[in-house]
Symmetry: C2
Subunit: 216 residues, 2 copies
DNA sequence: ATTTTAGTAATACGACCGTCTGATAATGGA
DNA sequence: TCCATTATCAGACGGTCGTATTACTAAAAT
């Protein structure tokens, strides 16, 4: 029942993933700087206002780059989204690599990962989870865009699963989905009620859940 | 830290809520029929495509009512959203009343309520939760619209809490939020991965959770 | 020195947006 | 019958959308 086909290739050895398929014609050139500025601004706006509610004009205003120039860097708005998602994938990979470098203990890794929730709680209250809200929004748009946004969840799912696998758990994939679902549920409810305290309480519950599922 | 102020008045006695504040000038008239058709079509489109991605033209196409007529029934698009949310609140109240009429046992009530997840699983896979996705979308728009959408969660929260209260649980409100969060988390992940089986599995987990929290 | 390319700036394009208007048709009580 | 109310209709309004094209500058390559 696998719906999406494109799954990012993951190099678990060394924990280094790479999704930043920068067009080589832009490598190291001056234009690459502007391209990156567009991506950075779009990333922020897509998160805070949503993909569909962000116009080229908004990005233009945020960067100072004339709206007409965007076509030079990206043929369509879709392409900007792809670049933004690739950027988020890179950031995520860097974060996961950092976690992996700090401890070999899967339980501690999962706990560190779960801290993402509380570290970003102010943003979560305002705009929800950057991965979850994007996925939910794009589910109602073009299936291709939704598929792209789901790559982020696919990476997280795989990484979390690997931690459970390392602990010898047979239902590692189910547990990975459960952890993701818990995090998503908390963000949706906390954002809906603008309730910071609920994040704190739930984060503790999630840490407890991780501990009970990893201590054997 | 309560952020939103407007809380719907709930008449728990008899389990009958009422949010359908129909403008009396429309009561029983012919125009009320068209008004309702607009709301019904908008409700469906807001769910499947999102609020911002639904245009007056879309609603016009779906109903056959000329776009220009909408101003007669609703001054702004916001008003349509309000009417749609009120409609959903009425439907929800009817559902909860039905559950209340079928059993006095809070545990059974909560279990019946949780069936909503599986009953709508096909829609959930495609478009997510109609309450959750609306809330997440509008969190990035006007705060007033978001507040309106949150009324639905507020009703659910209150009703679920009452079931736990009836069981003598002191942390009833926390449990209510937890149940809502679980449901939301499942829908987000299931929709992201287009995974029907995950809904089935998670629904069973949720029912188990309800049982362990209500059997004393 | 000349040609090619990378990048900038400004703007035109058609389509569509939510909103609003003015005119008309139907309705029903006086 | 008259008239006010209720309802319907087509279309214009200014604005913004994503997209596309043009003309231009500057640097690099030949």
């Amino acid at each position: 029942m696998a719906y999406f086909v494109i799954v990012p290739v993951m190099l678990d050895i060394g924990g280094i993933f790479s999704f930043n398929h920068v067009q080589e014609s832009f490598m190291g050139t001056k234009g690459e700087g502007n391209r990156q500025r567009i991506i950075t601004a779009a990333d922020d706006l897509f998160y805070r206002r949503g993909y569909n509610q962000t116009s080229f004009q908004d990005i233009s205003d945020a960067t100072g780059i004339p709206r007409g120039n965007f076509y030079y860097y990206f043929k369509t708005k879709d392409e900007i989204l792809h670049a933004v998602v690739d950027g988020r994938l890179d950031e995520l990979s860097a974060l996961l690599s950092k976690i992996e470098s700090e401890t070999d203990n899967p339980r501690e890794r999962l706990l560190m990962f779960s801290n993402m929730l509380e570290d970003n709680r102010d943003n979560v209250i305002q705009s929800g989870c950057p991965f979850g809200t994007l996925s939910s929004e794009l589910a109602k748009d073009d299936p291709q865009l939704h598929e792209k946004s789901t790559q982020i969840f696919a990476v997280l799912r795989h990484w979390i699963k690997q931690q459970f696998v390392a602990l010898g758990l047979t239902n590692a994939d189910d547990l990975a989905l459960d952890l993701l679902a818990r995090l998503q549920g908390v963000t949706v409810i906390a954002c809906a009620f603008k309730d910071v305290d609920y994040i704190k309480r739930s984060h503790q519950q999630i840490k407890d859940w991780i501990n009970t599922n990893t201590l054997n």
